[in-house]
Symmetry: C2
Subunit: 296 residues, 2 copies
């Protein structure tokens, strides 16, 4: 089924009728196709599920293109980013092409679905804008961080689960909760891996988020536990390239206060709530468990 | 009627529910609202015409935000651009918010309309990407230039005219031709004014397009008329900040070969074709005449 999605993605790109865009798109790594897999899992019988999967993968690719411009990222999934090789102008426009192509194709769906997906893109853009604004200082507001996380990462996954449930005639609200929690848990695990995984696995420097100014959940939790002097030391490291001593210090403090365990507990709670919402769905349980347990 | 459009634009932005985005959007100059005026003129009786007008103005604003990032423009309609004051990251995301909000709202329309508008955004993004690629060298291909112009500037206006005709139950194909030609004529006049208007009127240096690497229609036409030595001189000035002597030389050569007149003739022919397509529509004639005759 995922193969049909890949074929449809290629077809949609070909329809744009601009060989340079096709060429650049083909060089992108497709990633795990989590969003398309989710749709196919929820609505395996729906004839339009593969097209919806292809559309949301275009949207996801567009958001990553713009995200990489914003983060000035040199790598994406281990390959050089479009902004790194072709410049940010091309990356912005390729993103706009993918977004608008996705929206054109969405018009074939029930407005309930096209509206849910389009609204999620507004939310993820708001989340991205909040992310940029929040990286300018050391944010210690946990709720604000979680709101940004929801907007930036969870809303599209939420819209996928919701729309697929609509397609399949399943409980849309329950699947919305599942998708939202899946997205949040996914991002929290991502934040954890930025701290715990080695550089070869990450394909980028470890503790990169913090160097980029992103005060993720573990850092907010850590900050709350530190004494005044240590708090100042952590703030002083924010948004800078960290040397090995500073990385060691941050990690040792996280160990001391069991911060990573506490972030995992948070992710686990989201996962349990998601499973409770959808009940006895073995395949959806497996997806969220694999997200929680992934190591990269 | 245009007042209702402005109210709806504000309402759509408020619905995004992110005060920072609202604040930035309010600082943008709304411009002439050509696209909304066009829709209201074609479909004055349609109850949803003001909403469609508001949506396409959001799309137009989004495209300008991204356009300014790409051109590294410091000014837009005489006020500092968002990328100049808030940075390009914020400008990219604000553009994405406006695009996606527009697409969400489009789901309330007949898919024929929402698809036409969304497809025009794909085309304008392709046009913008071509524009970036073409600015890297001195392009002498007239047809390629006109194709890029169509994609970048005319497709959204074309989609507005087409969609409004669908709303009003008028001849959609004739209005599509009108919109396409209006967009092309508008951009050709824009290219001319970059050469002929004074800097105070433009709000930017004159001959700015050429300095930015954009070989517009008058330059392509001029190049064809120059001798070999002059051709080399023109190429050598491409993509550079021009001193007054070079500006004088370019303008004198354009005078010598009546290049501006010839570009106006081209715009005039597009205008005549547009008028022929829509027939006895006084209001639409007035719009395209005002575009041709505008001085800024």
């Amino acid at each position: 089924m995922l193969k049909i999605v890949e074929t449809l993605i290629s077809k949609l790109i070909d329809e744009v009728d601009y060989p340079y865009a096709t060429e650049l798109f083909q060089k992108l790594s497709g990633g795990k196709r989590l969003r398309a897999r989710l749709i196919l899992t929820i609505a395996p019988e729906a004839s339009t599920a593969p097209l919806l999967g292809a559309i949301v993968e275009l949207i996801h690719a567009a958001s990553l293109l713009h995200d990489d411009v914003i983060d000035e990222a040199q790598l994406r999934r281990g390959v050089p980013s479009v902004n790194a090789t072709q410049g940010s102008k091309t990356a912005i426009m390729l993103g706009d092409i993918l977004y608008s192509k996705a929206f054109s194709s969405l018009t074939a769906f029930d407005p309930v679905i096209s509206r849910a997906v389009a609204e999620s893109v507004t939310r993820l853009s708001v989340g991205e804008m909040m992310d940029v604004a929040m990286a300018e200082s050391f944010n210690t507001d946990r709720d604000l961080y979680l709101k940004m996380l929801y907007l930036k990462t969870a809303t599209l996954i939420e819209a996928c689960a919701y729309s697929a449930a609509v397609l399949a005639g399943k409980d849309a609200q329950a699947h919305l909760t599942y998708g939202k929690n899946l997205g949040l848990a996914f991002q929290i695990v991502d934040d954890i891996l930025d701290i715990t995984a080695d550089e070869a696995t990450l394909g980028k420097p470890s503790l990169n988020d913090f160097s980029e100014g992103k005060v993720t959940l573990p850092y907010i939790d850590l900050y709350e536990r530190l004494n005044e002097q240590e708090k100042q030391r952590l703030i002083a490291s924010h948004g800078k390239v960290l040397d090995n001593e500073e990385k060691r210090w941050i990690r040792s403090k996280m160990d001391e206060f069991k911060i990573i365990e506490s972030s995992y507990t948070h992710a686990r709670a989201l996962c349990d709530e998601a499973i409770e919402a959808i009940g006895e769905d073995v395949a959806l349980r497996a997806i969220i468990e694999s997200v929680i347990q992934r190591s990269h």
